[in-house]
């Protein structure tokens, strides 16, 4: 660390030092006053940052007690060295008060919304938590919505977020460990896990990777994700992120570890496996049969999103004999007069769709309508009528576009979409043969990935039969007796065998 000077005993010396540390910022408010607390009237200075500390609370919990306490308890005078301790213990009515002896922590406390109380003659100061700044209220999740299930989502405030999780798991075994990452931003990063379920080695690994981050700024969970992920050069996410407290609660109860980052409503979950990106929180709230069918549908959607344009290109340009005759004739009829090869046609439409999608996210809300009219009418209808694109290609692109959104996690859906383009290229050059080589390569790649030591394709590769009950189908909750074995083997049993319906 750089030089970390201690506080001096002179009041103005300290005040000046702190002011200088903050570069004479104009939002640093200084309140000089005298207080008789401790028996003798002394000069004191209260410092805080406008907007971070709450004015009303400062009045009520710091100034009022200091002004009203004229004498010490028992009429005895408190010696100067004990005064901060006395103030902390007997005068200040605020909840979080601590003594600080150095300049740097005091400055840190200031910018974290603490008020700093300097006392003339004391070589230490008190930091009093007055933090209360404007924040977004807890609202509905915008990206991971469900029909049945809690409708709360995380906010940008890490304390609100941890509280949301604690409100779901009311158990002292839920452990929260805090640290600051980012030399400049000093972002609060917390890991949360359930003691006795989370795997110790995984926990150590997470801590090690977090401690190795040496960067200026952590502005969002994405920064952390890229620093701690196992494999950088892959399309597929090995760290899950969610904005739902219930998902985090379920994950840490399975033995996974949550990483909360201040300033973002996205919480990271590790280890993250391939199959988890195809599971939605709702799978556990809906009836088991319904959610099993929906999961199967999602896997189906995954294959459609990744492969259908490629299969279309391969079949129509290499393997026409695979099509039923009637279908071949009607596809051939649609292609009459289309100037581009099927591959170029598909690339044009897929690229157009991706542009539309990206524009849809970035554009100002007010121009939304204009863009969607241009998108649907001009590109969809006119392209077919003008004979540039065949109608069947529009159908293929539409079904793929829609299918990619049945994948609940956006990271996975985007990975699948990029994979689709690779497959299209392979299909255009090598037909079915290319697609199968590509599939094989993809499977090898996915199997080679690890997420915090856990094989990415688990529990399918390596296969664990015990864990199959919550992969493609979800068995009803009474059947989910054991936690998934790939995360932790500490405390495998979730529930004892239930003893009949009437609880006898």
């Amino acid at each position: 660390m750089e030089n970390n000077p201690s506080l001096k005993s002179g009041l103005h010396e300290n005040l000046l030092a702190l002011k200088q540390r903050l570069g004479e910022s104009d939002d640093l408010l200084v309140r000089e006053f005298q207080s008789g607390a401790g028996g003798v009237r002394r000069d004191m200075v209260l410092l805080y940052i406008d907007g971070l500390a709450e004015e009303k609370m400062i009045q009520q919990f710091i100034l009022e007690p200091l002004f009203q306490t004229e004498t010490a308890a028992g009429g005895k005078e408190i010696v100067l060295e004990q005064l901060p301790g006395y103030l902390k213990n007997s005068v200040l009515t605020a909840g979080q008060v601590a003594e600080v002896g150095q300049q740097e922590p005091a400055a840190d406390a200031l910018i974290n919304g603490f008020a700093i109380l300097l006392v003339d003659g004391c070589a230490s100061c008190l930091k009093i938590c007055m933090a209360n700044w404007e924040q977004r209220t807890v609202s509905e999740p915008s990206n991971q919505s469900v029909i049945r299930g809690p409708k709360e989502a995380f906010t940008e405030n890490i304390r609100v977020n941890t509280a949301l999780i604690r409100r779901i798991i009311k158990n002292p075994s839920v452990i929260l460990k805090n640290q600051q990452i980012g030399k400049v931003t000093k972002t609060n990063v917390s890991i949360m896990y359930v003691q006795g379920i989370a795997d110790e080695t995984a926990l150590k690994e997470v801590n090690r990777r977090l401690s190795e981050i040496n960067t200026d700024a952590i502005l969002e969970s994405g920064y952390i994700e890229e620093f701690i992920q196992d494999e950088t050069y892959t399309l597929y996410p090995t760290v899950q992120n969610t904005e739902r407290p219930d998902v985090v609660a379920a994950a840490i109860l399975e033995g996974r570890i949550a990483i909360l980052i201040d300033g973002t409503p996205h919480v990271l979950l590790v280890p993250a496996l391939f199959v988890q990106f195809l599971q939605s929180a709702e799978d556990y709230y809906q009836r088991a049969d319904i959610s099993s069918l929906l999961r199967i549908l999602r896997y189906f959607g995954l294959f459609i999103a990744a492969l259908v344009p490629a299969l279309y290109i391969a079949v129509t340009t290499f393997h026409q004999e695979m099509l039923p005759t009637q279908l071949l004739i009607s596809l051939a009829a649609q292609r009459e007069g289309v100037p581009f090869p099927a591959f170029i046609e598909a690339m044009i439409m897929e690229a157009t769709y991706e542009i539309l999608r990206e524009a849809g996210i970035r554009m100002p809300r007010t121009v939304g309508q204009a863009v969607s009219i241009v998108g649907t009418l001009v590109i969809g209808q006119a392209a077919v009528e003008a004979g540039i694109i065949s109608a069947s290609m529009i159908i293929v692109v539409s079904i793929t576009a829609i299918s990619s959104y049945v994948i609940p996690e956006f990271d996975m859906s985007i990975a699948v979409r990029i994979t689709r383009f690779l497959f299209m290229g392979l299909a255009a050059a090598f037909g079915m043969f290319g697609i199968f080589i590509g599939l094989l390569a993809l499977l090898l790649h996915l199997s080679s990935l690890r997420s915090f030591g856990v094989p990415y394709m688990a529990p399918e590769g390596p296969i664990t039969f015990q864990d199959q009950k919550d992969v493609i189908v979800r068995v009803p909750h009474p059947g989910l007796r054991k936690r998934p074995s790939m995360f932790s083997k500490l405390n495998p049993v979730r529930q004892r065998k239930s003893k009949g319906k009437n609880g006898s």
């Binding site: 290499f318 026409q320 596809l331 009459e336």
Partner: protein, 405 residues
């Protein structure tokens, strides 16, 4: 030093290899609008040359947007001749803007003249070429050329080749005299010494010409039509004659190729009664007794009463039994007629009794397989028919019966 140099060259070599990969790409890539999708092919013979006719689909006329008012024909035929079938097909590109694509071939038609000369050599290409599937039907154009048959436009199914395919397929399931033969079945029959091939025939009905104009399909009753007609009997790969409707029926009963059909029997008191076959199961057996082949056909049929046009009391068990007896007699007659055609008229075992003998007595078969067709001529054939009448429909006796009482 030299070794070092080689190591340095490895990345270059690798990238050259990877860059060579795309060079092979797309070598058999064909867009769908570069294909002349041919669903029907016909082979005739003129002198020493093959005349090959191909019926190519005009996709925009078949599946184009509705209401495209042009009157183009839904198909186009190309004809070319050459000393081999392959050459003739390739030669078609001088007239056709697209290369003939035959993977979706539905029917292969032989002119009768060609079939009488032998068709074995001409189908080698079709079974050898990787592009073709072997599941298309073979047909013989009775009394005309394949080229002529392929030039007829048909209503309803706008692609004539598809019409032939569909009608023979439906007919086989609902009408006993029709049978389908695919290329691989035909080849199997030619290769096997115990069965001669049979191919379905098609016939043109109506006036002689005008079938190739779209005018032909604009009326309710086209001037010239294509229909399935009888079976062509082959000895090896040469056509030797045709089976009548009744003989064809018998043939299908014998080879166990009847799914459902309708036949009739005469009632004890005159008039006819139609019986619907709902299930037919036959067994062909061939044994050797005293050095002579001894063949048998066992047929078990389940029937329903379909139509009553005579006075008979169907509520009586006795009359049902009577009907069963009559149906058995009639089926035996049909089968006998068919067997006679094979044994006497065409001297050809197109039923496959030879294969049955082969299975039961391989040693004997080895000795006789060369002149099996002659042995077949004077073989003894037992015919056993068992008919069960199961149901009489939604009424018992004819309502005409009630009226008379």
């Amino acid at each position: 030093m030299a070794a070092n140099m080689t190591f340095k060259r490895i990345p270059i070599l690798l990238s050259v290899l990877i860059l060579m990969l795309p060079l092979t790409g797309c070598w058999d890539r064909r867009e769908m609008n570069e294909l002349a999708i041919s669903l029907g092919m016909g082979i005739d013979r003129v002198g020493k040359k093959y005349v090959v006719t191909v019926q190519v689909v005009n996709p925009s006329q078949i599946a184009g947007q509705k209401g495209s008012g042009s009157n183009e024909s839904p198909v186009r035929t190309y004809t070319a001749e050459g000393p081999t079938v392959y050459e003739a097909i390739r030669k078609m590109t001088i007239a056709s803007p697209r290369k003939i694509y035959a993977a979706h071939l539905r029917v292969l038609i032989f002119g009768e003249g060609m079939a009488r000369q032998g068709i074995g050599k001409s189908i080698d290409l079709l079974s050898r070429d990787y592009e073709l599937r072997t599941d298309f039907f073979l047909l013989v154009a009775r009394g005309t050329t394949a080229a002529h048959a392929l030039n007829i436009l048909t209503p309803l199914e706008r692609i004539p080749a598809n019409k032939l395919y569909r009608s023979i397929e439906t007919s086989e399931k609902a009408w006993a005299p029709v049978t389908t033969v695919t290329l691989d079945e035909f080849v199997n029959d030619i290769v096997s010494k115990g069965k001669n091939p049979v191919i379905s025939g098609i016939r043109l009905t109506g006036t002689e010409d005008g079938g190739s104009s779209t005018d032909n399909i604009k009326t309710t009753r086209p001037a010239i039509q294509l229909e399935n007609n009888g079976l062509a009997v082959f000895r090896k790969d040469k056509l030797v004659g045709w089976l009548s409707e009744m003989e064809s029926k018998g043939y299908n009963y014998i080879i166990n190729n009847v799914t459902s059909t309708v036949g009739h029997v005469s009632c004890p008191n005159g008039g006819n009664l139609a019986l619907e076959v709902v299930r037919a199961d036959s067994k062909m057996k061939g044994t050797v007794k005293e050095g002579r082949p001894h063949l048998s056909v066992e047929l078990r049929v389940e029937e329903n009463v379909g139509e009553v046009e005579c006075s008979i009391d169907l509520t009586k068990v006795r009359s049902i039994q009577e009907l069963e007896k009559r149906a058995e007699e009639r089926l035996t007659r049909i089968i006998r007629r068919s067997l006679d055609a094979g044994q006497k008229k065409y001297k050809s075992d197109f039923f496959g009794f030879g294969n049955a003998v082969h299975r039961s007595n391989p040693g004997y078969w080895k000795a006789v397989q060369k002149d099996w067709d002659e042995r077949f001529e004077d073989a003894v054939i037992d015919v056993k028919v068992n008919v069960k009448i199961k149901r009489t429909g939604t009424v018992t006796n004819s309502f005409m019966e009630d009226k008379e009482e």
